[in-house]
Symmetry: C2
Subunit: 299 residues, 2 copies
């Protein structure tokens, strides 16, 4: 019987595990993979303490720290949770007195013809994972967020040309990132435009746009990186009857408690930290949640 | 004219500066010293990303990162702030459109006879700074908090004997820390006891307790480390008419805004992060505050 089972393997989960173990709570981290959205960030410059570091290295450091502090980690997907008011039972075998959901978000798709067909054949949702496969190729990035800007930046270091395709008239990424892209001769912006279809033969060869670019609605591309945001992973939350807000984020109180006793939530899946979603807010929420678990279980 | 002046030099201030500059806000950090309460922590194991690191090294990293990102830092105490609703003027010379208070807390004194007299002659408020001066000596630590436990731990690595003197029946520090001290043969606990006076000649020689220990109210000590908490630094907040809670912490909304337009607050001085005061919550609040400043100034 654990005191706390943490579901998820990103920064919120790792921070919660570090704090929980230091409160001497018997703690299990249950995750299908260690690392969340942060794994896709190749150059993090805004996590205080590291001038620059890759998301993968942040996660490696955190995993080492969690193991050093003495939390257990099992690489296993949490499929179901039963509870009788006192004991939680996950995947019909792991028992705990409290559960922390730190399950993050999943990548949003464009839902256009050809998108799924060409996944791994040009279409990708992870520049960090796949950029190196596009050396000297021409690629597109769909989206206007920080993630889109970071993907374009990284791709420009490999590819010969990067088109940023965005439905609005300017990117909503951090100004520092946008400026850097604007000064990058390899990067061009196609604004006010949507990608309607991905076409090719064995591999993707082009996309169809809803507006003309250089006199054509066809744009030849070897790769298309789709960075149009993410959706909360709420399967377990729904199963448990946890209250969500209008954006399907888990509602939490200032102590990261959900509406159900002994169930807590932290990180991108929650309404915490003024809905600002950063590594720095995730680790804070994880720590606060662990403190609440410790306080509540002592009572 | 700056967009943002950050008053304070601890983790909340540094994080806010990193984020603000990345939002392309012209940012000045104004602090009498870089580093807050964290400087006194010699072994931080709960800041995710670092298995263990000293508070001084965390601050060095953050300072380097802030300078690399391009924020200005001036080592200057903010003595006064004037504002006319649009422009803030600090120390009658630095002007900005917004101000972030990240001024942290100050050490609490015992207010007993001999305490001030023997500061630097045995009495200290900073084990990290002074532990090494007490090699093979006998020292006391007053307090039951994490800070007290950390001070006792560090002192045990230098001194030959450490007494932890606490008014309650058990320490309120993290269980992991208490356990480690209980297993430390150099550390003894004197519970349910207050220190009433510090006595000596040129240097302190003993303390007077309000209960007998080993048959005497006198305890011979070469050093006394006072770790009885801290009080918010609210001089500026009072000057500005900022709303405080019953513990004299600055009330903030989820975006770290105070009740006064364009004045924000982050870190130990605030009611944010469920009043959980850690490096990890301070950096989160700093980032959230910078995001609010950016959003508010754009309007």
């Amino acid at each position: 019987m654990y005191d706390l089972i943490i579901i998820g393997g990103g920064p919120a989960a790792m921070s919660a595990a570090i704090y929980a173990v230091r409160y001497r709570l018997k703690t299990l981290v249950l995750a299908s993979v260690l690392g969340g959205a942060i794994l896709e960030a190749h150059d993090v410059q805004n996590y205080p303490g590291f001038k620059n570091i890759s998301g993968m290295d942040i996660m490696k450091n955190m995993e080492e720290q969690v193991r050093f502090q003495g939390a257990e980690i099992k690489l296993e997907q949490a499929e179901n949770i039963m509870h009788d008011g006192n004991v939680f039972r996950i995947n019909s075998k792991h028992e705990s007195k409290a559960v922390l959901l730190a399950v993050g978000t999943k990548r949003r798709k464009l839902n256009i013809p050809g998108e799924v067909e060409y996944i791994g054949k040009g279409v990708s949702y992870c520049a960090t994972c796949d950029a190196a496969f596009f050396r000297d190729k021409v690629v597109g990035v769909v989206g206007g967020s920080n993630s889109a800007a970071m993907a374009a930046q990284l791709l420009s270091e490999h590819s010969k040309k990067v088109y940023v395709i965005y439905r609005k008239s300017h990117m909503r990424a951090e100004p520092a990132r946008v400026e850097s892209l604007e000064n990058n001769p390899k990067v061009d912006f196609i604004y006010n435009t949507n990608v309607m279809e991905v076409k090719g033969s064995k591999f993707m060869e082009k996309v169809i746009l809803d507006n003309e670019h250089d006199g054509s609605r066809e744009l030849a591309l070897d790769g298309l990186f789709i960075e149009v945001g993410s959706v909360p992973s709420i399967t377990l939350a729904k199963l448990l009857g946890i209250e969500l807000d209008e954006n399907k984020l888990i509602k939490v109180d200032p102590g990261q408690r959900t509406n159900i006793k002994r169930i807590y939530a932290a990180g991108d899946i929650t309404t915490g930290s003024n809905k600002f979603r950063q590594v720095v807010t995730a680790v804070s929420e994880g720590a606060i949640a662990a403190h609440s678990v410790y306080t509540d279980l002592k009572e």
